[in-house]
Amino acid sequence: MTSTISGRTQKITCTINGEAVTMDVDIRESLLDVLRNRLYLTGTKKGCGVGECGACTVLIDGEAYDSCLFLAVWADGKHIRTIEGEAKEGQLSEVQEAFVESGAVQCGYCIPGFVLSVTALKEQNCHCDRESLKKELSGHMCRCTGYQNIIKAAEKVLTEDK
């Protein structure tokens, strides 16, 4: 079956932070555009817009993706998670706590993306050593911290599990 989009919008159904959402999206919109401009989930940041900085990272079906390079129409049927859904009932997630405790956050622009990538690794029971952890997080840029405390935060949460 072909879903030909005659006009410029298409209806998509997905979940965002656990809530079912049905909406008409423009075929020109990225998932990032929809999250920020239509749903006001501005925790997902727009950085480079070309998939280099990772500030726009969200989880799609449990894996980290750059939402700037992901057309909104592709989100149909997907489970999407943004930083807004990570703290539950006012309680930061374990990953968020680790970032705070490790002093991993400076300006904070890159942090939602980092937190989501580390969350995915944690949920996949990643047994990363430091080098492979760096590789796993290489799709994120941070211009403040020099990465050390971010890596420490990630290591903390990924090793405390075991």
Binding site: I5, R28, V73
Partner: protein, 293 residues
């Protein structure tokens, strides 16, 4: 927002070909990591797109009954690098595609897109050349098979009709059985960078520790990815030695035609070609079971 005038989602290859044939302005989008950036930069105004990312048959990685490894063109790099058929039969390809961009990019970017964009710097390309890969292409007239060496037309250009879809990348058993392979990407950073030079060597070891077969391919050493048949012939059938490795490197550098770009000068690329081909040959030879003192 992206300047997209029309978007159609194909669910089968037949449907993708039909949609492309029905609209001469239509272009394919798979992972979108190159296409969306091109649109963003204004190179594809009022883009009319046929999406192929949801075509199930295009993401399959399977072994055919004759031993041919078939990699669906829309298989993503992250799937390829983790797939057991890849890690068992053609590990060098899995290692090569792990050097593309970063993890988020590798989850969407596809191997077919890497080929069809025609970039000489494509990280999968030199390794696919070293494996003598055959491309399976479907169009309005049916299916055709083309060796990867014949698909490139020039920088960023491939011999692919507007209504044709690259459906699978095929590696036959005589091109992977017994081979050890190694890819080296030389770039300024370990991730999120484009190769200054990419070098892939596949080789096979014969009795008496000889280099029975050698395949050498480069990315960014010429306007398109290339093989170096001269360097290959020079070492084939000869016992492995440090001198042979040196000769291989020199022959490789003599066979390529890199350019000066803002990333690196021609001279630096020639130097890299000599060094990387030597290193890759040694590593590939070890992986193939050979002995290097």
């Amino acid at each position: 927002m992206y300047d997209i005038a029309r978007y159609e989602e194909a669910r089968t290859v037949d449907e993708a070909v039909a949609l492309l044939a029905a609209n001469p302005n239509a272009r394919i989008i798979a992972g979108g990591t190159d296409v969306l950036i091109r649109i963003r930069e204004g190179h594809q105004p009022s883009a009319e797109l046929v999406g192929i990312r949801h075509i199930e048959e295009l993401s399959k990685i399977e072994l055919r009954s004759d031993g041919t490894l078939s990699i669906g063109a829309a298989a993503t790099f992250s799937r390829i690098s983790k797939h057991s058929l890849i890690t068992h039969l053609v590990p060098a390809l899995g290692e090569a595609v792990e050097t593309v961009g970063g993890p988020q990019i590798r989850r969407v970017a596809t191997i077919g897109g890497n080929v069809c964009n025609g970039a000489t710097s494509a990280d999968s390309a030199s390794t696919l050349f070293a494996f003598d890969t055959v491309l399976q292409i479907q169009g309005p007239e049916g299916v055709r098979l083309v060796p990867i060496r014949e698909i490139y037309r020039g920088p960023g250009k491939v011999h692919l009709g507007q209504a044709e879809v690259l459906t699978a990348i095929l590696i036959s058993p005589e091109n992977y059985n017994g081979f050890g392979g190694h890819y080296i990407k030389y770039a300024m950073r370990k991730a999120m960078d484009i190769a200054t030079l990419g070098c892939s060597v596949n080789c096979k070891v014969g009795t008496g520790n000889i280099v029975e077969k050698a395949r050498l391919a480069f990315g960014v050493a010429a306007p398109t990815p290339i093989r170096c048949p001269g360097a290959e012939a020079l070492v084939e059938g000869k016992p492995f030695s440090a001198a042979l490795v040196d000769d291989f490197g020199k022959a490789a550098a003599a066979e390529i035609n890199p350019r000066t770009s803002w990333r690196a000068s021609r001279e630096f690329r020639l130097h890299l070609a000599e060094e990387l081909s030597k290193q890759a040959l040694v590593r590939a030879f070890i992986k193939a079971g050979g002995k290097v003192q």
